[in-house]
Symmetry: D2
Subunit: 147 residues, 4 copies
């Protein structure tokens, strides 16, 4: 985890504003549930709309929400005029995703001048409690207005 | 690309039947557009419902459709009673995904007794033609009824 | 981190015995410096023999030592007759590897019946202290004598 | 595969010069066997010095040689003053690496202004012919003298 301070004092507002523009998050009924400097949590329901063929949550639900969580964790540390873009992102699935909701907790591992490394842990929540179902790590890039 | 023959003579029907059970594919308005032994193509529209914050297609659209294409490419070679599960999957994004539709072309690289390696190439299609926007590779596992 | 107990009471001896058979570890002058259930540390010198073109440690030194650390972390939990094999492994490089030595700390994230997920963190050590230079995650498989 | 022309007319000489500085390649007895614009092949012997515990080539041999092949494929397209650095690199192992030698064939998938995507295929060669044993893909970055 980096110990960088956020460059943008309004990062909570700006992350929320950017999140609201992601049509994909609305399609998945995902909500931004926590934003702090370098860490972002997103929650989404598990249901038939996002299932795979055996009734589990499609891995794409996990990946998509985890990618946004990891990306916004990085954006939370950036300057106000910067944008974030995923370069590459990997997921290891630990267990079938069964339950009522998932949460994706994104965090920054390296906050570089141009390239950042961030990760996300995905959990399911349901009658049987909380379970760690996937882990993600990837590279994001900082895009500046002049860049 | 493997040269394995499909173990299941009805693989085209069975892949289509499994695809129809993926609620996520319906949510993304994705369609199964080609199934052959070891190769599967899925198409989906790009639109506000699946956008990220800058108006491009969310990488999660690409990953999700690519994961299904890579997984069904593997399922097309499996026995009739088997199921496929993604173990891990990686994406490298080559260009922002702009256009009208995406196609994900999945193919099998290794068809093992238990573990398989498959890949997917993601293309956008629009007024400016066809563009290669992402490449994916990952591991899937064959689940047998007794296993 | 899993909370599994090791299946093999002699796991420390058996991990050390297997490590001693890796010609690659000898070539890299790597040493097994700590073995506990689910966690293994390997240390190796940085020097001209393992450099890349700019004088840093070649990423291959980090990957190779990290892969062995992650693999032996998994082997430490397995039965006495089992073997471990890497299926896939990824590295994200956080900083150029400069210093006197590297340590790779491998740990098990998921210990499954057949498939396991393990990770490794790579650190450099030198006049400027300890630095986190790379993070790895991947899939390993358990091979049983009859399998 | 990109269709970019090399920016540096002396790229063959410069790739060979950089390769000669990699102490790691000498330690592995690796040789640069082919350099063309966007594609580089490296060959290395399989032997007890680079084995893992079961006598196969250590995956680290494959990864290390493949990383250099993918990196030099990218360097072959860069300007004379630029350097290449691996950001992240992934390997999927397809088969145990048995034989006399390995070859790693690196190629450029995307040659970007700052970030590139490159891949490598690893083959073994021996009494039983040529076998595809691993596939790699990753991200590299272009470092300019002023950067």
């Amino acid at each position: 985890m980096t110990d960088h301070s956020p460059l943008n004092p309004d990062y909570k507002i700006d992350v929320a504003r950017s999140f609201a523009k992601q049509g994909m998050m609305e399609t998945l009924n995902a909500e931004l549930t926590e934003v702090s400097a370098g860490t972002v949590t997103i929650t989404a329901p598990i249901g038939p709309q996002t299932s795979q063929q055996d009734g589990f949550a499609h891995a794409g639900l996990l990946w998509t929400v985890g990618d946004s969580a990891a990306g916004y964790a990085t954006l939370s540390l950036m300057g106000a005029e910067e944008r974030v873009l995923t370069v590459e992102m990997k997921i290891n699935l630990l267990s079938p995703a069964v339950g009522d909701t998932i949460t994706a907790v994104g965090r920054v591992i390296r906050f570089g001048r141009n390239l950042c490394t961030s990760a996300a842990e995905i959990y399911t929540h349901g009658p049987n409690g909380k379970k760690h179902v996937a882990t993600m790590i990837g590279t994001t890039t900082r895009l500046r207005p002049d860049g």
